[in-house]
């Protein structure tokens, strides 16, 4: 059975997710990858997220570029991306959405913060048909790697790390 999830996610919603669950994600989600995620962490550390209207409480971060070609997950195990899981979860992010195996250490850190990692196939055309809005929120100078917000309906993903367990174990 596919679980229906709407952002922002509550602690309870995340606590009810298990590895292997297929979920439909709807609502507003953020996008970012190697270039921008360290900048978002810096904004959070400097308490400046409000300056950009960014609210990470219960948020999803989708590891993708946003270009005229559409969106699609990049590998979440790139250093700058995977190292963002811990601080971003600490600042409220509940789901990191991308692809590829992440380390045991990251799986453990996610569990400590009651956050999850979900995998989304690189299905750009399908995702395009489920994306309602896209807005650049911060760092437009990064072009397709800027920090964007998307409004999505039923993005389908599979929970790959939750409660200290990984789908790759």
């Amino acid at each position: 059975m596919i679980k229906q999830l709407t952002t922002p996610f509550s602690e309870e919603t995340i606590a009810n997710l298990n590895v292997g669950d297929v979920v439909n994600i709807s609502g507003y989600i953020y996008t970012g990858r190697d270039a921008v995620l360290p900048k978002i962490i810096r904004l959070a550390e400097e308490n400046r997220l409000d300056d950009y209207g960014i609210n990470l409480q219960g948020a999803v971060i989708f590891h993708t570029a946003v270009s005229p070609a559409g969106v699609g997950p990049t590998s979440s195990n790139k250093v700058e991306i995977e190292s963002s899981f811990e601080p971003l979860s600490r600042y409220g992010v509940k789901m990191h959405l991308g692809k590829g195996a992440i380390s045991k250490e990251t799986v453990k850190v996610l569990a400590e913060q009651n956050a999850v990692f979900a995998i989304i196939p690189p299905v750009t055309a399908l995702l395009g048909s489920h994306t309602v809005e896209q807005t650049i929120i911060a760092f437009p100078e990064l072009g397709m790697e800027a920090f964007n917000q998307l409004r999505v309906v039923n993005y389908q993903a599979i929970i790959a790390a939750a409660k200290g367990v990984s789908i790759y174990d």
Binding site: A69, G72, Q156
Partner: protein, 281 residues
């Protein structure tokens, strides 16, 4: 009359947005045959994506790839500099229509290496690869466009194999290189493209040819052996397990050197590749 540029542009859009029938069939067969539910879910998503992309004529993947061009020329046909220029213009038009991801790097040699010059925002600014030309026994000039993504380029390997006068040795080496490449690629199920030649250039050219002519419904014994052995790894689609890490192998064996070495080019094509389409000019 449709111009050369328009024909090439339409061909590029088709390459970047459409699964061929043999490709769709390969997915349907794999889904029917797969016992792992996660693997089935991934492959159904990839197939649904292809159907939506075809209908909307939109990119299969947001990494729309670098256009690679393969030109077949019949004995009595003439390729002029003007035709090559028209093909180049058609590629730029097609990239704007698809639209391709704007990923041409600006600047001089150093700036293009370290990406310090920034990106060109024009999708059409992405230069295609050099054209590979092959003489054929038909009265045609046929262009095939392959859109080659970055993930498979990272994991592709072109290296020698000491064959020890045994096909088994070569197959085993290809398999041992392919298993980690497929696992690391992530965007699987893959199709393995293999070229075996006398030099790095020749092996890579043969690998390109394998991608141009490969058919999911026609597999040689050599190709089947590689596919089956790689699938024994149970990496599965997106690395989630299952017996379909690889849907097929497209291999081309060229003339060989009188020596103990074979040069093998291997590309783990992603779940959408080979993204290709052909047009007669």
């Amino acid at each position: 009359m449709i111009s050369i540029q328009d024909k090439v542009a339409a061909c590029l859009v088709r390459a970047g947005s459409t699964f061929r029938e043999d490709q769709k069939e390969a997915y349907r067969r794999a889904i029917a045959d797969e016992g792992n539910e996660h693997a089935c879910w991934v492959m159904r998503q990839v197939l649904d994506n292809a159907l939506v992309a075809e209908e909307r004529r939109s990119p299969l993947c947001d990494d729309t790839g670098i256009p690679h061009l393969f030109l077949e020329v019949g004995k009595n046909r003439i390729v002029t500099g003007e035709l090559l220029e028209q093909i180049k213009e058609g590629v730029a038009m097609g990239l704007r229509q698809l639209p391709g991801r704007p990923m041409a790097i600006k600047g001089d040699d150093d700036a293009r290496i370290d990406q310090s010059g920034g990106l060109n925002e024009d999708s059409g600014a992405l230069a295609p690869s050099p054209i590979l030309i092959k003489a054929v026994d038909e009265e045609v000039i046929r262009l095939t466009i392959l859109m080659l993504g970055g993930g498979p380029a990272i994991r592709g390997i072109t290296q020698r194999v000491f064959h020890k006068h045994s096909v088994d040795v070569v197959v085993d080496e290809i398999v041992s290189r392919a298993i980690p490449a497929v696992s690391q690629l992530g965007c699987s199920p893959c199709t393995l493209a293999v070229g075996i030649g006398r030099s790095q250039f020749e092996a890579t050219s043969l690998m390109m040819e394998a991608m141009v002519y490969g058919d999911f419904n026609k597999q040689t014994a050599f190709e089947k052996r590689i596919t089956e052995k790689v699938n024994e790894s149970n990496t599965g689609p997106l690395g989630l397990g299952g017996k379909h890490s690889v849907l097929a192998t497209f291999a081309k064996v060229g003339p060989q050197r009188a020596s103990g070495v074979r040069i093998v080019a291997l590309r783990p094509c992603c779940c959408f590749e080979p993204r290709r389409a052909s047009v007669e000019l």
